[in-house]
Assembly symmetry: C2
Homo-oligomer: 248 residues x 2
DNA sequence: CGGAATGTTGAGGTTACTCAAAATAAGTGG
DNA sequence: CCACTTATTTTGAGTAACCTCAACATTCCG
C-alpha cells in the first residue's frame, strides 16, 4: 500500500493558485505570474507534528505554528499559520516551525524573493503589510497574556483565529475548522493544559462556545466577545460563573 | 521666563541628523537626502507623559511607548521607542503613543513616505526590516509573559533595553540611561507595581542589577542573563534566593 | 483489541495580586 | 532654602488565580 494519500491537494500553477488572492503575491499583476513562479524553489508536504526546516515558504494548505522552546522542555507558541500565510524563520534562531496538520507549502528562494522585492516596490510593500499584520496580532496577544485572565485569553484567541479563517472564507460567523489540541492553546496562551481545559469547560457549560473534533462552534458570539474584550467592565454578567463570587 | 528649555536639542537637517544611521532612512544615499527631508511634515516636541497624536514619526531624542488601555483602567505597554525608531499607529485604533521623557521627533507625511517607498524598493525593504525587528522583539516578550516568572521577565526586559541602547552607542556593557518608572515595567511585563518592586529589590539585594535615578547598572551580567534565559535550567544557582526553597 | 494520545477532574501548593499604609523622592510656590 | 503637595517606591498581610501532581475517562489509530 502506498503511503496515506495527502488530504490536501497539491498546488497547481501560481496562476490558478487558490490562496494567492490572500498571500504575499496578491498585488502581482497577471502578466508577471511567471516571476512569482520563479521564486518557488519546491513544493513540499509535511505531516502533522513534523518540523519544517525551510526558512521561507508560503503555506498552501493545512496549518502550522512557530514556537520557542524553554530549557525546561516547555514551549511558547508565537503564532499560528494558515493557508496563504508567508512563513519565515532563521534556521539558526531559537524558533521552530512545526506543521499542525498535514500541510503543503511552496518553498521560496530567499535570494530570488529578495531580488524580486528589490525590483518591485509593490511586492516589498505587500511583504511589509504582512509583517505589520503579524505585529498587530502579536500586540493583541501580548495584551492578552499581560492583562487578561484565562477565560479572556481563550476567548480572544478563538475569536482571532475565527476571524482569520473567515477572512479566507474558510469559516462562517458561527464556527469553523480548528485543528488545535488543548496543549496548543495552553502553549499559545501561557497557561497549563488543565487550566485551558477548565476554561473550555466553562465556555461549553455556559453555551458560549464549543471546541471538539477539530471544529469550533460559537454559540454566543456576543458573550465570547465580551469575555475577550476584557474580564469585567464591558460584560454585564453574560456568564453566570466567572470564578467564585467575590466576597464583597 | 520662557517655558523650560528642552533638554533635547532639536534635529538639524536630515543630512547631518545624528540618528539617521540607525533609522528608516539609513539606506538612502547621500544625494537623495532631500527626498527624505520632503517626507518630513514637521518637527515637534512632546513633554514627558504627553500623548503623541501624530500617526507616523521618527523619534529623534527621548523615549516614547505604545500602549493599550483596558476597560478597567489598566494598561499594557506594547513597545518602547528609542531615538531613531520609526513609530506608527492608527489614530482610530485602540493603541496610544505617549512620550516617556521629553522627546523631539520628526513627523512624517504618510502619503509622501508611501510614495517614496513605492518608488524606492530599498527604502521599502528597510521599512520591512524595522517591522521584522519589532516582530522579533514582540515574540521575545510574548515568550516572557507566557513562560517566564517575574524575575525572568524583568531580567529579560532590562537586557533587551540595554541591548537596544548599546546598539545606538548610548549604553555601555554595564549600564545606561533607563528613564522608566516601576509602573512602566509593571505594565510592560504584565505584573503589579508591587511585584516589580520586589523583583527589583531582589536583583539589588543579590548585586545583579540596580535601577535608580533613571539609570540601570548591571553588576553581574552573567547572572542577569541566566535569569532572563529561563528560571531554572541554565542558571546554576547564581542567585541564592529564588523564592523559598522547594520542599523536595 | 490494545496502546498511546488527549481530555477531564480533584486536591493541594505557589506565584503574583489586592489592599493598605509608611517611607522617600520629586516638584512647586513662597 | 523651606513648607507643602504630589508622585513614586517600599513593606506587610491576606487572597485569588493558576500551577503541579495524580488519577481516571475518553478518543484515536494501527
Amino acid at each position: 500500500m502506498p503511503p496515506k494519500p495527502s488530504l490536501t491537494p497539491l498546488p497547481g500553477s501560481c496562476a490558478t493558485c487558490g490562496v494567492r488572492p490572500h498571500d504575499l503575491f496578491r498585488a502581482v499583476p497577471a502578466e508577471q505570474i511567471d516571476k512569482v513562479a520563479a521564486t518557488r524553489a519546491a513544493v513540499r508536504l509535511a505531516r502533522a507534528g513534523q518540523p519544517i526546516h525551510d526558512t521561507v515558504f508560503s503555506l498552501f494548505a493545512g496549518w502550522a505554528f512557530t514556537w520557542r522552546a524553554t530549557p525546561e522542555g516547555r514551549r511558547q507558541i508565537l503564532d499560528f499559520h494558515l493557508p496563504g500565510d508567508l512563513v519565515e524563520h532563521d534556521e539558526a534562531g531559537e524558533e521552530t516551525v512545526t506543521a499542525l496538520t498535514d500541510a503543503s507549502f511552496c518553498v521560496l528562494s530567499r535570494e530570488r524573493l529578495c531580488a524580486f522585492m528589490g525590483r518591485d516596490a509593490c511586492l516589498a510593500m505587500s511583504y511589509a503589510e504582512g509583517l505589520s499584520e503579524d505585529r498587530a496580532r502579536l500586540r493583541e496577544r501580548l495584551t492578552s497574556l499581560g492583562r487578561r485572565d484565562a477565560l479572556g485569553r481563550l476567548a480572544h484567541l478563538l475569536l482571532e483565529l475565527q476571524g482569520r479563517l473567515a477572512k479566507r472564507g474558510t469559516a462562517s460567523g458561527d464556527g469553523g475548522p480548528l485543528p488545535l489540541r488543548q496543549a496548543h492553546l495552553a502553549d499559545a496562551l501561557g497557561l497549563s493544559v488543565e487550566h485551558v481545559n477548565r476554561a473550555l469547560a466553562q465556555l461549553r457549560r455556559n453555551r458560549v462556545a464549543l471546541l471538539r473534533k477539530g471544529r469550533l462552534e460559537i454559540l454566543d458570539r456576543a458573550a465570547l466577545g465580551a469575555l475577550a474584550d476584557w474580564p469585567d467592565a464591558p460584560a454585564p454578567a453574560l456568564l453566570a460563573t466567572r470564578g467564585r463570587a467575590r466576597p464583597g
